[in-house]
Subunit: 468 residues, 3 copies
């Protein structure tokens, strides 16, 4: 295994091989490659940016917090402990283990991003191996000590214009507020309201969190009324701090409209623990409906990320906690699940609902038809396992013939891997250029129009869908 | 947004970019591009053809009745009322709204058809815009006044050889009969028996329609026996008027064999309204089974269009009626659902069952395996949201490796958009040429054999499957 | 229909048309085209190899036992009886029927294999037709009489290194033992433990088979304990005879952990016939779980083939028996179904679980994410209807971006069609070369690394996953 694993990023990487189509793709890519990044959904920490905390080690930057990376290393025989997932680990050893197993990322989306990240900003084109691991570690450490490698400087170098974080409803958003008030920092960091922990009635600790929410934010009201009031109140608090969206990570997109008295009674039974599994499902479905109602009222864009069975392996969850790499997708039905919600809110002026999926079979079957009728529904970009060059292309091919380009919600990187942000956006731009180049080459679009479309898709779409 | 949206139809449009493959595709396309059109399933009005009624306005021809077009305009902010859907609207204004939003069709199947339709027969290559809308309106109006733009003359110019309509079982088919008796009109217009309104036990007004069916067609028999007799009688009436097929638009392809006494008792309870939701489902499943039995007996080809949740948005349905653009697909199971029907009729000589789907995941998983065993089962061409260049190609790639070409039911345009008929068939021919060109280029077929296959797929397949 | 149907196998067959990509694919193919064949799952008879029985007729070699071939002939109008399926038939007539319908295989995977098989080893490049059928029959018969066309000589000429059979747990494996002891025969023939008939509680005759299993192998223990002991005992017997894997053909991959007393009581009720349909499902799910436990203990690789509804057409099953061409896939859920099994065994050292599917929608949604976390889970190669050039390519595109290449279980031919074995492996090698050529052409991998990967995927992957 002595050969170079991945070449350094080639200017034509990910562009189609046919020479004429590649030439068109290059031309289209040139329209967008250097545009600023608008990132309306992700998992970077606002506090880290606010404090401009230097990154500590290559292990913390590239390996331990990135479950895309650690899961595949785990599948190939590493223990999560040795990768520093959820537990402390010696960073040199984490890095060595990562470098020694570099080949497992060949052909993966993560591999593509990692190559780009090492090259830019770190200037590393050597393939990591067990042999050069320590040397690479040192080279990266040297850089991490430089001012230009602090989070804010990196965001500047990424040309980040907007970066959304994902936050607990009771977060005080002080980091966001201080960033907003800082005239020396141009990038707009906006919080996202993520109420899962307060509406997911199956989660351990749900009742305690609800109690705390009511205590802190209901302004004296109690019970179900206080609960709704507290959620509304915190949403407004987020809006005041710059939030544009509320995000909902649900197992299924089931929605249900309960009348007030049924909802109240179910809520009280939940707090007493006097409920069945179906009751908990019903409450969650009802709350998805209520969250849509609140979005109609307060204007927060509603984003829904359904269809992941979280923490599939109980022992790993017990030992390493959530987001440790074993959330596994399930088949999802949007059409019937969302019908109650869309029946009542789907044509409400100003309501924006961005739907994400991990189930490709819904691309053409459900999502494109829904977004092709409801003015509120936007197509979320391919998510997680599907945020990868071929999968992005399958998405384009599956939805565009029904919805065109106008119903797209824009690319979303959805990442906690800081340095992968520009790499991910760059990949998405290359895929759009390649797709449009094919349409032009097949005489389905003029080149002039394709130039306009790629700018719209990359730059205008996320601003439009996320009200930026 | 000043550029030309779509170029006028290019001779190589939709053909693959690789030069050698394109050359093969051109050669294969030339074998079929000018063949007559056989259209065994669609929604054009026989009365309009019989009366040879001139089209009234561009809005009525291109916009208001075409839910492919109006749904996407609606998603992008138009009200259905302003598009003349289900209500009267000023046609100039409908047309202006359509032209101003022309860009939303970029990359869509509808966009491809519309460009072709404006070019031929209307000679228009200008991209519609808000600015040229009135001028285009006038140019089209001028043409619509000419004799060569009447329905019959257009059908002649389309080289239509067979055109099937879709009709209510109690239709008197007088238009079909007069067309058949008209020696001056060569195109064969055949009715299709569509009994949904009389077998869908969930639909409002079901019982009244059943009563009327029994009154008008049971020849004195009553109850369940009279109901079946009336259906049989009307099928024969359709056959006598030239029908070759019966079409079934069902939510699911569930089939169920009830014995006569159970069916009779369920039917009586249905008429009294003394039924559960499950009872209604059971009746529908039983009637799909009975319809197959009738097809075995009388030879009408059975076509099934399952998996659309009709009228997803209740308010829109209440205001604008059915077919207003919010029928949304759901996941479909064919394998277990059709088992009762296929167990009893799947190998019956002469029985033809053409299966359509909106759920791509069934292409390779269920439809190709079923059509690859049962002599009765034919693969319906990709339907509705899937009648689009890339989706047609995915269908070919997904089913051909299991079933070859012989189990294909032929392309079906399934449209009420009159001028789109030749455009749709032309797109299908281009996709077949492109697919076969790839197989030839990859040395999977000889060019000589591919020439034979494309003629068979385009011309012979629909005649074979639909007994034309 | 006079043209040549399929050209003789072209050196570039199945390689991509773009000239530069094809050149890369040729180069990558050359790294693996002549490597020995490792075939860790299939349905060839060990007795036939042990006895080195000459093949009798072209009909028996190419048609009657191959349900891929007979099903499509049946769909196109042949009776299974006339093809010699499950009943005796005059072989000349079977062969004539096959040759006359040769065109139905155009574009199919079977067609690709058949062309290759006729060419090599039989030296036939003529397209079979009704006219040359008798002459081809004679040419093949002549060859079948030659020593070099006996099974062992053919396996040598195929460069078979390992060939796994699939065997009943009570098989005495004498053929395997005699082959292993035969120093003149180099190919390693290994049995595979397939306990379906003894764990599928829905199958007719289940209780009798279980009784016999306990009688023969429980070493005096009785009841549920004896049943488990007998299974363990026979697994060890297989291991001693060279087995590396146990194969499980289940309708769904549902797994369930019953405690010992529940399992015992359910088992006793099953033997008395005192069970519901759900009870039978529960027992099967529990036994899939127990089989995983046994694999953890004894090291047999566990392979699971779920999602086929066997014997869809009851009359055909009654007349022709199982494997007569009407097993039809259904949608499958792996994520929730396998959770009990993976929760307890998914991270057990040495446990290997190879998952196959007939449901493409699970490629990216479930299988890649599972194999991308659990060290035990390997991706089975596309199975049955999906073992075809385009489907293999869709698999690669769907899973590689999540799992890379390291989680692949290697190509499996899974066939009883003896001469198709090298043809199938050759197709898989061409697809891998084409896929990797695209990645190299798109600058996603270096050519040097792609050369290493293709050797790993073709040669090392099956050895790794199947512990060979």
């Amino acid at each position: 295994m002595s050969s170079t694993t991945l070449p350094p990023p080639h200017p034509d990487r990910l562009l189609p091989a046919d020479p004429a189509t590649r030439e068109l793709a290059r031309e289209l890519l040139s329209c967008v490659e250097s545009l600023p990044i608008v990132s309306p959904h992700g998992h970077v920490s606002a506090t880290m940016i606010s404090n401009d905390t230097a990154f500590t080690t290559p292990a913390d930057l590239f390996v331990s917090p990135d479950h895309y990376v650690t899961r595949l290393l785990h599948a190939n025989g590493s223990s999560l402990a040795s990768l520093g997932v959820g537990v402390a680990a010696e960073p040199h050893e984490v890095w060595r283990e990562f470098c020694a197993a570099w080949h497992v990322f060949d052909g993966t989306a993560s591999g593509t991003w990692l190559v780009a990240e090492l090259h830019d900003p770190f200037g590393i084109d050597d393939t990591p191996t067990a042999h050069n691991a320590d040397q690479l570690y040192q080279r990266i450490m040297t850089r991490l000590g430089e001012p230009s490698f602090r989070p804010r400087a990196l965001l500047d170098s990424f040309a980040m214009e907007v970066l959304a974080t994902t936050d607990d409803p009771l977060d005080d958003l002080s980091a966001h507020r201080s960033l907003r008030d800082d005239a020396t920092f141009a990038c707009r960091i906006v919080p996202t309201f993520r109420p899962d922990a307060y509406v997911n009635a199956h989660a351990a600790g749900f009742v305690n969190r609800v109690d705390r929410l009511i205590d802190e934010a209901s302004e004296g009201r109690s019970g179900y009324d206080g609960y709704l009031a507290a959620l509304r109140h915190r949403r407004q608090f987020f809006i005041d701090a710059g939030a544009v969206a509320a995000d909902h990570g649900v197992r299924t997109p089931l929605s249900l409209r309960l009348d007030r008295s049924s909802a109240t009674s179910l809520f009280e039974r939940l707090r007493r623990g006097d409920v069945s599994r179906d009751d908990r499902d019903a409450f969650e479905a009802h709350m998805l409906y209520e969250m849509a109602r609140m979005s109609v009222d307060d204007g927060l864009v509603m984003t829904v990320h359904p269809g992941s069975l979280r923490n599939h392996h109980p022992d790993t969850f017990a030992q390493y906690g959530p987001d440790s790499g074993h959330d596994i997708p399930i088949a999802v039905d949007f059409t019937t699940s969302l019908r109650p919600l869309l029946s009542d809110f789907g044509t409400e002026p100003g309501f924006h609902l961005v739907l994400f999926t991990l189930d490709e079979s819904t691309f053409s079957r459900e999502l494109a038809p829904l977004a092709g009728f409801y003015p509120s529904v936007y197509l979320g970009s391919p998510w997680w396992f599907l945020d990868a060059p071929d999968a992005l292309m399958r998405f384009r091919s599956a939805v565009t013939e029904t919805t065109g380009f106008s119903r797209y919600g824009g690319f979303v990187d959805d990442t906690r891997a800081f340095c992968s942000i520009p790499a991910r956006h760059n990949v998405a731009r290359r895929v759009e250029a390649s797709y449009l180049a094919r349409l032009v080459g097949e005489h389905r679009l003029s080149l002039a129009r394709a130039r306009e479309i790629i700018v719209d898709v990359i730059d205008a779409a996320p601003r439009r869908a996320f009200k930026l």
